[in-house]
Symmetry: none
Subunit: 195 residues, 4 copies
């Protein structure tokens, strides 16, 4: 239908749009895509109902713009992933990277979780976030082939673990300090890869 309205040109307009996007992350995270009401978003942004459609052509449009934003940040993140070998250096590098990963997930995790739900036409599933990162990870892990599984699955498995534990950490179902978690998880990952 209507294409996304043009980007606001003045400072005030940009500020309004930013407020709406921040509110969008919060509300989509809280309630999921479907349950999120445009009303919830505009209330949280303290913006009027009509103004929303000045910046986004629809609820979908807002979601897509948020996704694009996350994708952007994810891209830089995966690109910063170091080569992983069975060395102390790698361990430190991986741990460091996991801190960033977890940080990103603290902000966007629940939003990403609502990804699937928002898919319209089956497109988004393939653009799976974890899958993408896992593929990058698999390429960086210098691991010997094991007869029973390939690195891609292992990467996916381990990232899933990271994501989930972090999710529990964010929602308070597990209370460990972030720092602690990343070390623990780095340990498990390396143990698993190089068992």
């Amino acid at each position: 239908m209507a294409t996304s309205p043009s980007t606001p040109t003045r400072a005030r307009g940009r500020a309004t749009k930013a407020k709406l996007m921040t509110a969008g992350v919060a509300v989509f995270s809280d309630k999921g895509f479907r349950a999120a009401r445009v009303d919830d978003i505009v209330k949280r942004a303290r913006i009027s109902h009509g103004t929303f459609y000045l910046y986004f052509s629809s609820k979908d449009d807002l979601f897509e713009q948020l996704v694009a934003q996350v994708a952007e940040e994810l891209k830089s993140l995966t690109e910063s992933l170091p080569i992983i070998r069975q060395t102390q250096e790698s361990r430190d590098g991986l741990e460091q990277w996991l801190v960033s990963f977890i940080e990103l997930y603290s902000t966007y995790g629940p939003l990403i979780r609502s990804w699937t739900e928002a898919e319209r036409g089956g497109v988004s599933t393939q653009e799976d976030v974890l899958g993408t990162v896992a593929d990058a990870l698999a390429l960086k892990v210098k691991i010997r082939k094991r007869k029973d599984f390939d690195p891609r699955i292992a990467s996916l498995a381990l990232l899933a673990m990271v994501e989930r534990v972090n999710y529990f950490s964010v929602t308070g179902q597990v209370d460990e300090e972030a720092e602690n978690l990343s070390r623990t998880l780095a340990d498990i990952m390396l143990d698993a890869f190089f068992a």
Copy 2:
């Protein structure tokens, strides 16, 4: 509001209710709680609209009854979890158990994923499925204390991994045979626990 209508007394009624519950699992899994239409459910069950409300007082009610059913099955599953040691026997037992776990997830996984979305009043999140099973697993794993993490987190992490990989398997983003997966995952778990 209205309380859940009484259980049907005759065979025909019980069959109808069962049909509706089966259809419910399918539709909630497909679309998530919010997007699922009562209409979708009754159409799939080939039952009239009004009949739905003969057995469930609302869409919420159906969901809650499904959750209760899953919880029940999960309970038996966790109870059947064997003690896990660093032996070949344990490996086989765990692998076997994972097959059951994965099977359960094949049926109810997507439903469980729509859990959060359906929560009304924040109750459900705490009754997290994985969390519950993870706690049971932690108790069964005979593992030496590692300085940096307790078995509960490890269990949770590993189950998260299992769940996620299985989810990818179900949705076709990873294609491995179930049998293969369970062995792979059992390997990773034991490696991680007893590294």
Copy 3:
């Protein structure tokens, strides 16, 4: 459930809400609470269906707000009731007051009659309109104690009579001019009180 939506801030909104309340009185009066359709109300107000729920969270909510409005007007009415003695002055004052009472009943009588029907939880019955006014009346009537009845019952009885006759007048089962009625009723009341 949902709480009553907030009051409109601008003139147009207030006008719309007023239109809906006026239509509500008419429709509830015509058909009673249960038989009244939200559809009837919005059609009469020439307002769209969705707008109704912008101002009232439900049919119940509209009814409750109308009841509150009636209660408000009744309060002023009872407060304006003069002291009643066996004098010509009192007779005139009472007659005058009855005119107001009848006028109020012409507007809200049928609505008040649908009170009982709408009661949810048995609250409304006790807040009986006539009862309230009768109590006020009993306090204002300077009457000697009669051995067989107290002023409160007499007041109630007489007001009931007034209400009913007026109702018949409104529905055309009795055709007397309003002016005529109030004099007649004032006569009967004073005769009864001071017989």
Copy 4:
């Protein structure tokens, strides 16, 4: 539509029908015609849903049969009303009659109140119960014409009073013994008629 099913021929059938009518009085009285659910009625009668339609072709049909029953009893009541003059004998007779009237109202009052609500096609209003009785009463009262109102209005007014007070007595908003009430009301009536 369907005409009323034929009267049951056997004892069991008659008992069932009686149970349904009793339940009908109770439920219509409690909730009014519209709000009364067939379900409420059959539950109270401890009869199955389907059986209801064995005896009554519709909810309306039940109501009409109940009305007919009340009308019957009312007819005998009005016929038993004595001539009323300004004598002690008349006072006693009227009081006695009011006892019967109140008794009838204790049973059917709330049902009669739901009369108007049930009217379909404006027929019932004219068959107003009080109106009918009032007319009978007016004929029996040997009263001199007052310049300002005719006996019919006075009768109606007074009966309305009687009905209403009795209604309050039934619902517990006034607590006087029935015996007491009838004397009080007889007093007011005669005072009013023969002031």
